[in-house]
Symmetry: C2
Subunit: 544 residues, 2 copies
């Protein structure tokens, strides 16, 4: 055992040598830390200093565990990230949502009870930003791409960003994605040019058919929600006005090849289109997993499911437990079944024990679509930095490696999935060293359980503005004030997650640490400046 | 098996004969129904007509099951009802509260996962009304006692009401209560004169020490919450002003004897008093269970725990997982441990399989005490008929009889516990026939699981006013209006439990059934008039 540990540590030596001077200096200040290759934000370095020895001991034991798994399966673990769309804190069955809201989520609940249920899991406040966060491990503000992209924009995820797919590709993984990309329309922004070997995807928000033909919509949707679309101009009118053909917004991409538009039946818009797309996606994913299970290389799947938005409620997706008039409910129920199929396939192929699956929502509910929308028990929704906008359900599943039925109090942020995957893939050395990565390695939390999370601080950006900071149990909104300090509003979001009351007096004691954290964060940002918006636009026309 | 069933049915024949004409006529309209002795409200009789055959078949099978249990243990099942104080929907660990809010509820969560977790469980909107509801199975409006009682009032639960303790006593049960009575100060209102053989109780809201000495409070409470009491006059000042000695508000009562004031150390007020009272209560309960386990008669315990209000946060109740500055959190954590002790005792005594335990909160959180208060994910709190006021956590536990790990979507109301206990105790014939009982027999839901609940309608009274009706998934507030019909505001509380949006258009289709239900409810109330307030006041001075 001792020898295996030493061998595992020794295997890291080449990485230590490859680390540039600046980071090595940082590493030398601490006795030993696996993640020192990553340029972290100031708050994490503070935590690291305080927990240096504990974390080093944990990491050594974790590396041993992972090495044993690797020797059993002959490869690094497979990683599957499922990013859900607009699902709020409370919508899982295990949260009192699910069938209790007319949206049974049995498959997702089973996953949750077989693994970890996160109650303090955080995303960015909207769609494109959360996709940047999971892809780059960075808050969107650092990437220059700040807002939700709309059809026709030429901005997108800079090719200079190094996605988790690129990190894992470099480390020898097969990489594939399905679903909603929403990180730019130009080929240079596209998944097949951002590290994915294969991608089956829609370009922007809600594509492949968030912009359905209104006539079709009105015919297909159950009364009375049909009324919602009565003045929707339709795809043809949209094309006439903007020159953009929304029916050509979904693609198959393969690394090194020009992408192909989805044509034929798949290219026809309408309310059932998205349902077909989801069905095709899970069928392809199952096939992919079955093929790659036998491969000598591990795989990484990013499944950015479309299932939880307004559209796509074909009657055949309803089951007796589903609110029959509700599109979001029926899509969610179908998705839950698809996840169940995926996990069953992993078990059937004998690779469940070597596969981490994480399910995470991209932001809170989009109430503008109510009643065909997500929902949250918390205040605020998508687009806000209130808990309802950024605190979302998440689960992790890894039979035999993650202890079942856990519900840790530890915080986790969507960016953490980047760093966590990099570590599991033995690829921390491939994370670029010229930029801050906000994601924190959460392998200790996944494998050791409650109390081993490595995050005590979070920044909640809204575009380029820092809207709120969470520091341990306190959240400080920077734009509000309820009879306290101007521009600082304190909530104990452990005791008051609904941000109903505020708790200024105890919060007052958090002012100095929070201000120090904020200043250190800003200094770090000056040291590693954010990418400018001018770096994002390519030269090709959209929809190329 | 057939013979056992027939024997079981035959045993009911004497009851049929004892049923007065009016009810027998009702019974004759339906083929067979166990609960026909109870005078139900109109909405239930409608449901009964529609489900007559199904329910009769269910009941026959249930009676068989219960008869088999009775022959195994030689007596009817023991029943323990725990009524919690001001705990909101979301505060259990299994609801994302518990340790996630700094209030670990491991014992309660274990109970919940070993039994039934109710997500659609409803109480009355405040303290005294909910205590009436569980004691009489009736909405408070019928009993004439409408509001929360304050020290010095002479009104109380009319001796003409027939409590569940009286019902079960008549059927041969030992009956005992611990905790907060809050149904009147006069001896005639007291538990020992309302069906309990033994009672260890505080008289009114928050007694034995919701009115602590402010000096003691300020010395003992952790800063900064101490500030909350800075102008509290204290017990002595209260006595001087009102003539009422709050330190004499807790009693031991025994059937047929004059009650005794708790004296000595137990009679001294102060923030730790309540802690002692709770500790004494559970110690007594454990001893009682151990004694009665061997008895030939079953027992009924009503434990109206004090633990979740403002006061009582002695430092020794804190554990490392409990928010150290929070009284409500530490009391709740202690209570959770006490419940765990109780369930362990039932198992150790070998009577768990013959004991139903139900835990129910009396109403939503009392936010006026925030941060030392309960909390809810829903809109509104204690005192309102919004979901946050009346939708509360509840659990049922009965190893070997109730399937573990259930979370049915069915509705249950606090009044249902009355009728359910009467049925389990074989005591339906002892329920008075001259009044409406709102409680619905929920034995089928407990024993057969989801879909077998017998409630589709609920009335939410606020004092004498009907504030809202729930009819299936719809809730109609009768005093508001959001751009719809005057005095009718529709919410689909299945889809929108936070009552955030309202859903008028689909709700419109519920107008007629809801109005019909309302009219039938009013007709039934004319047929069986409510008790008047004049019937409640006795002639003795308070604190006798």
């Amino acid at each position: 055992m001792q020898r295996a540990l030493l061998a595992s540590l020794a295997s890291l030596l080449p990485l230590v040598r490859a680390v540039p001077w600046r980071n090595r200096q940082k590493a030398s200040q601490i006795s030993w830390f696996l993640g020192f290759q990553v340029v972290h934000d100031a708050h994490f370095l503070d935590s690291l200093k305080k927990n240096n020895k504990t974390w080093a001991a944990e990491d050594a034991s974790l590396e041993k565990k992972l090495a044993s798994l690797e020797s059993k399966f002959g490869k690094k673990p497979n990683i599957i990230y499922i990013l859900a769309d607009d699902i709020g804190w409370g919508e899982m069955g295990w949260q009192g949502g699910g069938k209790h809201r007319g949206t049974p989520t049995e498959g997702l609940d089973k996953m949750a009870f077989d693994g970890i249920r996160f109650w303090s899991s955080y995303s960015e406040p909207s769609c494109t930003p959360s996709r940047i966060a999971i892809m780059t491990g960075r808050h969107p503000v650092r990437t220059g791409l700040l807002k939700v992209l709309w059809p026709g924009q030429t901005e997108g995820l800079s090719p200079e960003e190094f996605t988790i797919a690129e990190v894992l590709s470099t480390a020898g993984y097969h990489t594939a994605m399905w679903g909603k990309w929403h990180l730019g329309e130009l080929p240079e922004h596209a998944p097949e040019n951002q590290g994915f070997d294969y991608a089956y995807y829609g370009l922007f928000n809600g594509a492949p058919d968030n912009w359905p033909d209104s006539h079709d919509m009105q015919q297909s949707y159950p009364n009375p929600h049909r009324a919602m679309f009565y003045d929707f101009p339709g795809v043809e009118a949209y094309k006439e006005e903007t020159g953009i053909d929304l029916s050509e917004a979904a693609f198959v991409g393969r690394r090194g090849q020009s992408r192909q538009k989805l044509g034929g039946a798949a290219g026809t818009l309408g309310p059932r289109r998205q349902e077909y797309f989801e069905k095709e996606s899970i069928d392809q994913i199952i096939q992919y997993v079955q093929e790659k299970a036998k491969d000598e290389r591990p795989f990484f799947i990013y499944w950015a499911t479309y299932t939880q938005q307004l559209q796509g409620s074909a009657p055949q997706m309803h089951d007796p437990h589903v609110d029959p008039a509700n599109a979001q409910a029926s899509m969610m129920a179908a998705h839950s079944g698809y996840v169940d199929r995926l996990l069953a396939t992993l078990r059937a192929e004998g690779i469940a024990e070597n596969t981490l699956v994480v399910w995470f929502s991209d932001n809170g509910p989009m109430y503008a679509f109510f009643p065909n929308s997500g929902y949250s028990w918390l205040r605020g929704g998508k687009g806000t930095v209130l808990e309802g906008g950024v605190r979302v359900p998440a689960m992790a599943w890894w039979p035999g490696t993650i202890q079942p039925n856990q519900d840790p109090v530890d915080m986790i942020h969507l960016t953490d999935l980047y760093t966590t995957a990099a570590r599991l893939g033995g690829a921390l050395a491939h994370v670029p060293e010229d930029r801050v990565v906000d994601g924190v390695d959460q392998v200790p939390l996944l494998l050791l359980g409650e109390g081993h999370g490595r995050r005590s601080t979070m920044f909640h950006y809204s575009g380029s503005q820092l809207g709120a900071i969470r520091h341990k149990n306190f959240k400080i909104h920077l734009k509000e004030s309820k009879g306290g300090l101007p521009g600082m509003d304190f909530y104990n979001v452990k005791r008051d997650p609904g941000e109903k009351y505020g708790e200024f007096y105890p919060g007052l004691f958090a002012v100095t640490p929070v201000q120090q954290t904020l200043q250190a964060h800003k200094r770090r940002m000056q040291e590693f400046p954010n990418r400018g918006e001018q770096d994002l636009t390519g030269s090709c026309p959209p929809h190329a």
